[in-house]
Symmetry: C2
Subunit: 325 residues, 2 copies
């Protein structure tokens, strides 16, 4: 089941049932416009709570999915940044294979203005009909998609065509449960502990009420994953990425190609690192790498000085995102 998605104001901080969910990012394609033998066209899968979100879907995405531990049947949502071919030419093939695999679960595709025409128009040309509920919904900067356990905020990027970034942020988790404090307050071990952990007040046998805040530590931040490509360096990406666990950012060029990056509205690796640093991002992954780079050295020059944890993504790279304390 998918959560409600739509355009609503972000709700106030919620304390939310949120067990230790594993979260994993898998880079399916990390090249820019032209694929190479080692880098496919852009796509990133994010797995959380048995559900897969796909960011972009370049040509070959369905083939890459076969090489990794990501089940295409679990893809609930595809988030498209913009309508350049390298980011969307895998959609038709993916839809066709999902159909042939007998999919019945609904699928939502979000993207900028034009995504609906592209997807539905291509399906018409190819006489492709699917047997599952497919909705293609255009989003605009400022939209927030509310889903079970997390929100996705849509923000603007600075590229040659209208382009959207996506910031996925989990709801807050309750603070750590203080066993000693619960015992001192006389809360009997058992179901009441669970209710307090889940944010409910409990009534003790002696008539006293204990509130969650009395036994829980500070609420803990959810994980935050921000996807920002294709784009020149921009303030909106910095704001959206503030405090992110992971930022996946355009790094098409090495720093010496800054002029070319400006002209084509892309970023250099060092510019991406500067954005991540300013946004106090925990981990930066550089992707959308130009086919001209067969080695990481020119791209990494100057990057680790700004951000020691920065890494260049590569195809089929898996990244586990730990819970935050």
């Amino acid at each position: 089941m998918m959560g409600f998605t739509g355009r609503r104001a972000r709700p106030a901080l919620r304390l939310f049932r949120n067990p230790a969910l594993p979260m994993k990012i898998t880079f399916l394609g990390t090249s820019s416009a032209t694929p190479t033998l080692r880098r496919g066209l852009p796509a990133v899968a994010l797995q959380r709570d048995g559900e897969v979100l796909l960011f972009d879907c370049g040509e070959g995405t369905q083939m890459q999915l076969q090489k990794v531990e990501v089940r295409p049947s679990r893809i609930a949502m595809l988030l498209v940044t913009h309508l350049h071919g390298d980011h969307v030419t895998g959609i038709m093939g993916l839809l066709m294979s999902l159909k042939l695999a007998g999919r019945t679960e609904p699928l939502i595709i979000h993207g900028p203005a034009g995504i609906k025409d592209y997807v539905l128009g291509s399906m018409r040309y190819l006489r492709l009909r699917v047997d599952f509920a497919l909705s293609v919904e255009e989003v605009v900067p400022g939209d927030v998609l509310h889903r079970a356990g997390y929100d996705i905020s849509v923000f603007p990027l600075d590229h040659t065509v209208p382009t959207l970034g996506y910031a996925l942020e989990e709801n807050m988790r309750p603070g750590r449960f203080n066993v000693e404090r619960a015992r001192a307050l006389g809360v009997p071990e058992g179901p009441m502990w669970g209710r307090l952990q889940r944010g409910d007040c409990v009534l003790l046998p002696d008539g006293r009420t204990v509130a969650p805040a009395e036994v829980l530590g500070q609420p803990r931040r959810g994980r935050k994953i921000v996807y920002a490509l294709d784009t020149a360096p921009c303030r909106d990406a910095i704001s959206a990425a503030a405090g992110a666990s992971v930022l996946i950012h355009d790094a098409t060029f090495a720093p010496e190609e800054e002029a070319l990056a400006r002209q084509r509205k892309h970023s250099t690796s060092v510019e991406a690192a500067a954005i991540a640093q300013e946004a106090a991002v925990e981990q930066l992954y550089l992707t959308h790498i130009s086919a001209r780079y067969t080695h990481a050295a020119p791209l990494m020059r100057g990057v680790r000085r700004l951000l020691p944890t920065a890494r260049i993504a590569h195809d089929l790279m898996d990244v586990e995102i730990p819970l935050r304390e």
Copy 2:
């Protein structure tokens, strides 16, 4: 330079300058609708005289081209069989990469009704403009595309949507030059031999005229390559494949799935072999293999009994086609 292409009656047998041109077929993708880890979506490259013809262009074709000795810049023509996604979803990516590689040579795409809308419509959606002359021309069964040194005949196939097969046939080559006969006739060794070999009459110093037929053996047949997928077994494919050097035929299913093959308008491997046998084809390649087959055995059952030289194509398979004597 590309030859004239258009709809004209096939010209009478021509004797043609035709040196020993190497010809090579490369299977780029050999799966049916769903790709597998070992088989990509349909595409076949044919190299001849420094030129590449591409038959179909499924998703991932541009990536497969990087793995083989086929230069994308040499692709002069793309021949599309039908508008199912697995046969065309690689076109946009290929166009994009050709553009980014700085191509200036023209490119022709031929296909059934609808190919023009699909290609030009997709380019509009993706705001893709190319800097080379791109023409997309719809063809119908019976059309013959005349090119330098060979013709391509378009024939109908029997599938769930309008589908075209293509039969490429080289012009006749002059017969073998009979050196003893030329000497006996008093033709001096040198340029006159070459002119006779190329089909011209020569005037000897003593006033006699020698015609090519006096020194050449029987004209030799050109090579003939026939591409027939997706299709149920059909008479048109048999006629078109008559005497072919190579037939590349739909073999989506093993013989025990004949009912399924009928329902989906595909062929079984044994049906493809029967067609090749009836058409007296020299070499059959079975392709468009369903993802259900991870081994060749079920597909080959009964095939070699009909046609000992039949082979199942695999991705990146190269086949040299020798000249005919």
